[in-house]
């Protein structure tokens, strides 16, 4: 395999990795949002329980 073809393959790999990396980043934002919603939910429920006790 000559140099140009090797470079060609290298960039193909970069391209595929980038395409998936973008989606992985988006999935990570989804995961962090999920965690935030769950934390809000829990703290609210705790707050409501506290209020009922008093």
């Amino acid at each position: 395999m000559n140099d140009a073809a090797a470079r060609n393959f290298e960039y193909l790999a970069y391209g595929l990795i980038t395409a998936w990396l973008v989606l992985v980043v988006y999935v990570l934002t989804l995961v962090s949002r999920e965690g935030r919603i769950r934390r809000q939910m829990e703290s609210l429920q705790r707050m409501l329980e506290d209020k009922e006790k008093h």
Binding site: A4, A5, R7, N8, F9, Y11, L12, Y14, G15, L16, T18, A19, V22, L23, V25, Y26, V27, L30, R33, E34, I37, Q40, M41, L44, Q45, M47, L48, K51
Partner: protein
């Protein structure tokens, strides 16, 4: 149950994509002029299709919201716009990597690149607009209007920039550019799983939007005590 279906769909999509990558590396011959790099097109073009499918659904969701005033349409609108932007970014980045090899430059102000970038900015503006509005129904209403206006300007953007300048390879699915049937089958074969992934992401994002509303409602009732 619903979540299991979604995860199943996602797993199936990833299995299909892995299969396709293997097939395109082993079975498909290199394109005569471009060599190995041309395989990027099997992600580049379906990502663009998926991006515009998402924006179209976002337009429909915007119109439906204004008709019904049901916040689930707003959730669909924001979910499809976000996923569309993610695939738009994938499209732009793969395109730039391809251009680096074939044209020797990362970026050129060719009409398709430029139009895609402008669409990306337009819908990015939609998300920024949403962040600036607190009240849910006002946010839904104004972003529905923004979605309708953005989609209406897309054809103008494409035509104007096309007349401005062109350097991109001919459209691959219509017009002069002919595409080998094996390549074409691969292109659509890859679009199906990519679209499936988009559907899974949109559905997950919509569930989050619904739960966020539940949290907000809970907070209001908590403070009402």
């Amino acid at each position: 149950m619903r979540e299991k279906t979604l995860y199943g769909l996602g797993a199936l999509a990833i299995a299909l994509l892995t299969h396709n990558i293997w097939k395109m590396l082993v079975n498909l011959p290199d394109e005569a002029f471009q060599g190995a790099i041309f395989r990027i097109i099997f992600f580049h073009v379906p990502a663009a299709f998926t991006c515009f499918t998402c924006f179209l659904v976002s337009l429909i969701a915007g119109i439906s919201y204004l008709k019904t005033r049901d916040l689930k349409w707003d959730a669909l609108g924001v979910s499809t716009t976000e996923v569309g932007l993610a695939f738009g970014a994938a499209n732009l980045l793969t395109g730039m990597i391809w251009a680096r090899i074939i044209w020797g430059i990362w970026w050129t102000w060719d009409w398709r690149l430029t139009s895609m970038l402008i669409c990306w900015l337009l819908y990015g503006g939609y998300l920024v607009l949403r962040r600036a509005i607190e009240e849910p129904t006002e946010r839904a209403r104004l972003s529905a209007v923004m979605s309708i206006l953005s989609f209406s300007v897309v054809p103008f953007v494409f035509f104007s920039i096309k007349w401005f300048r062109t350097q991109h390879p001919q459209p691959v699915l219509y017009g002069e550019g002919k595409m080998d049937s094996g390549y074409r089958a691969m292109l659509f074969g890859n679009w199906v799983p990519i679209l499936m992934i988009a559907i899974v992401l949109v559905a997950v994002r919509m569930m989050q939007e619904r739960r966020q509303r539940e949290v907000d409602a809970l907070r209001r009732s908590a403070h009402a005590f």
